[in-house]
């Protein structure tokens, strides 16, 4: 159906976005890779000699790197666990016939629209603060010593904040998937004598599996890059207790102005993210054919 003229018109319409994205991807990426091979510090003017993989060696052998990798895994894993389990339970609850479903749904998805700096600061001050925070007041009311969340369990507190932000996303996607489940299938199974548990296990779970995978993959992409929540609460501390890979690279880059090391870290972050991305792309690509 497409004529030669319409095809060349189509090409002209696609090319601006392709060119822009190509520049956006290739130029900074090439620069990062190039910088990562130089001894280049903005605070030390002069030549930037080529040093090969020295920056990588320096970055990886820094004990902070191991801490950051562990923290990144804990952060991503912890938030995924909380949001997926919580999201499945919430989606199942919201899918039941209840009064005011629309309003409950609006309340549940609201945190997703709160900007990260606001949610992090609100949790830090209004809830976690041992003196004036809500949890502090609550502890004093029941006569326990208030717990200083961000000082004593910084990473767990940040996992809590980030989970609160992403729970709505998981819930919304899983709820959408649940609602696309064919109810006739469930009724047929019930008539054939399948119990509530059997129906859930053999029909609902397989149906949700795909949506859960999508949630896990997409959240992982975003969670690997958690930054603002750490930036405004703990600054990665105490020590490196709440420093993830993104924050560590930021510190090397814009606090120490060590372009070489920061770029080496950047390349490592890109490689890590790509491992996840490959799986995600495969899933979405399969969906494109369907």
């Amino acid at each position: 159906m497409s004529t030669k003229a319409s095809r060349s018109a189509a090409r002209a319409m696609i090319s601006p976005s392709v060119l822009l994205l190509l520049c956006w991807m290739v130029v900074p990426l090439a620069m990062t890779v190039w910088f990562s091979l130089l001894r280049y510090n903005l605070l030390m003017p002069g030549a930037h000699p080529f040093v090969g993989l020295e920056n990588y060696q320096y970055f990886v052998s820094d004990p902070a790197f191991t801490d950051a990798i562990v923290n990144t895994l804990l952060l991503v894993g912890g938030v995924l666990l909380i949001t997926v389990v919580g999201g499945v339970l919430l989606a199942l609850l919201l899918d039941l016939p209840i009064w005011g479903q629309g309003i409950v749904r609006i309340m549940v998805i609201a945190p997703f629209f709160v900007m990260p700096t606001v949610s992090a600061l609100v949790w830090k001050n209004m809830f976690f603060d041992p003196v004036n925070g809500l949890f502090g007041h609550l502890a004093k009311t029941i006569g326990v010593q208030p717990y200083d969340f961000l000082a004593q369990a910084p990473l767990a507190s940040i996992i809590g904040i980030v989970s609160w932000q992403w729970l709505p996303f998981a819930t919304l996607i899983l709820l959408t998937a649940l609602q696309s489940l064919d109810s006739e299938q469930l009724e047929a199974a019930e008539m054939d004598g399948a119990g509530a548990f059997a129906r859930f296990y053999h029909i609902v779970v397989p149906h949700l599996a795909r949506a859960v995978t999508v949630v896990i993959l997409i959240q992982t992409i975003f969670l690997l890059s958690v930054f603002a929540e750490i930036f405004v609460t703990t600054n990665g501390g105490p020590g490196t207790a709440s420093t993830n890979l993104t924050y560590l690279i930021y510190k090397e880059s814009l606090l120490s102005f060590d372009v070489g090391t920061g770029s080496a870290g950047g390349v490592i972050a890109i490689i890590l993210a790509n491992i996840v991305a490959i799986f995600l792309m495969r899933m979405i690509g399969r969906n494109l054919d369907a």
């Binding site: 990426l29 930054f227 993104t246 372009v259």
Partner: protein, 276 residues
């Protein structure tokens, strides 16, 4: 699932759902409440906070002391600017890929998606140095361009999934009736595409409004949007709960309302059409 349940069962489910809903929503509710209290009252115990008198004082103070509306305006310019420019580029691309698909269309789409997987911190230094050498640090222009680029793949994908759903028979019928390409786009396609474009606009304004990596790293006092302005409360002086609450309430209210309108599109946009 339209299956019969006893009223008692339904009441129980309703109660459970409402308790969970209110708990999840509570932090937002709490900052709205605190924003209408005085600084002295805002740090009291929860019951004392609720019984304290209501006041608009904090809103006035936030505006007066920190020029709140300049940051609000920066957020508006950055999110709206990046989204509108992005749409101008994305609409023709998505249209072409949906209606004149070639052999490589799928690969191009997948490749565009892959640019979204690039962790921002991986290119922080090059972008920072480019902006620095062009004198674009702490300017709205730099953020408009960057946020446009990071959201461009999402825009194209969303528009593509919407355009795909437009029945092609209608286009063919119009063509048979002698419509030119321009007429086809203007009178047939555009009216059917408007809802999809509107949802894409909405979702991308939300994403750009809340973006907090580039906005924090590339702005200082001048071009700081609300994300960066709020971050300045992380090292406060004196009592600041009521002011932080007032600033936060104003920062999230418009986007919360837009978000509630775009629930359905959110799923489609953020899963790249994998869940609808």
């Amino acid at each position: 699932m339209a299956r019969a349940v006893t009223p008692r069962r339904k009441a129980f489910n309703t109660l459970a759902a409402w308790i969970v809903g209110v708990l999840v929503f509570f932090p937002i509710l709490w900052i709205v409440i605190l924003s209408f209290k005085t600084e002295g009252d805002a740090i009291k115990t929860p019951l004392a906070v609720l019984s304290a008198p209501w006041t608009m004082e904090s809103y006035a103070v936030v505006q007066e002391r920190s020029d709140y509306f300049r940051h609000f305006w920066n957020s508006v310019v950055i999110s709206l600017g990046s989204t509108v420019i992005g749409l101008v580029i994305a609409v023709p691309s998505a249209w072409a890929m949906a209606f004149v698909p070639g052999r490589r269309t799928k690969d191009v789409l997948m490749w565009m998606l892959s640019t979204k997987m690039l962790p921002p911190v991986g290119v922080l230094l090059p972008i920072y140095l480019i902006c620095q050498s062009l004198g674009l640090l702490d300017t709205k222009i730099a953020l408009v361009v960057i946020l446009m680029l990071i959201n461009l793949p999402i825009m194209i994908w969303m528009l593509y999934t919407y355009f795909k759903e437009i029945p092609r028979d209608i286009l063919e019928a119009a063509r048979m009736d002698g419509a030119s390409l321009k007429e086809e786009v203007l009178y047939v396609l555009l009216p059917m595409a408007v809802p999809g474009i509107a949802s894409t606009l909405l979702l991308n304004i939300i994403l750009a409004w809340n973006e907090s990596f580039w906005t924090l790293n590339l702005t200082a006092a001048k071009a700081a949007p609300l994300t960066a302005f709020i971050a300045s409360y992380s090292s406060p002086e004196g009592l600041f709960y009521a002011k932080l609450s007032a600033a936060s309430t104003m920062a999230i209210a418009p986007i919360l309302i837009m978000g509630w309108f775009s629930q359905k599109q959110l799923v489609r946009g953020l899963t790249f059409g994998a869940v609808k």
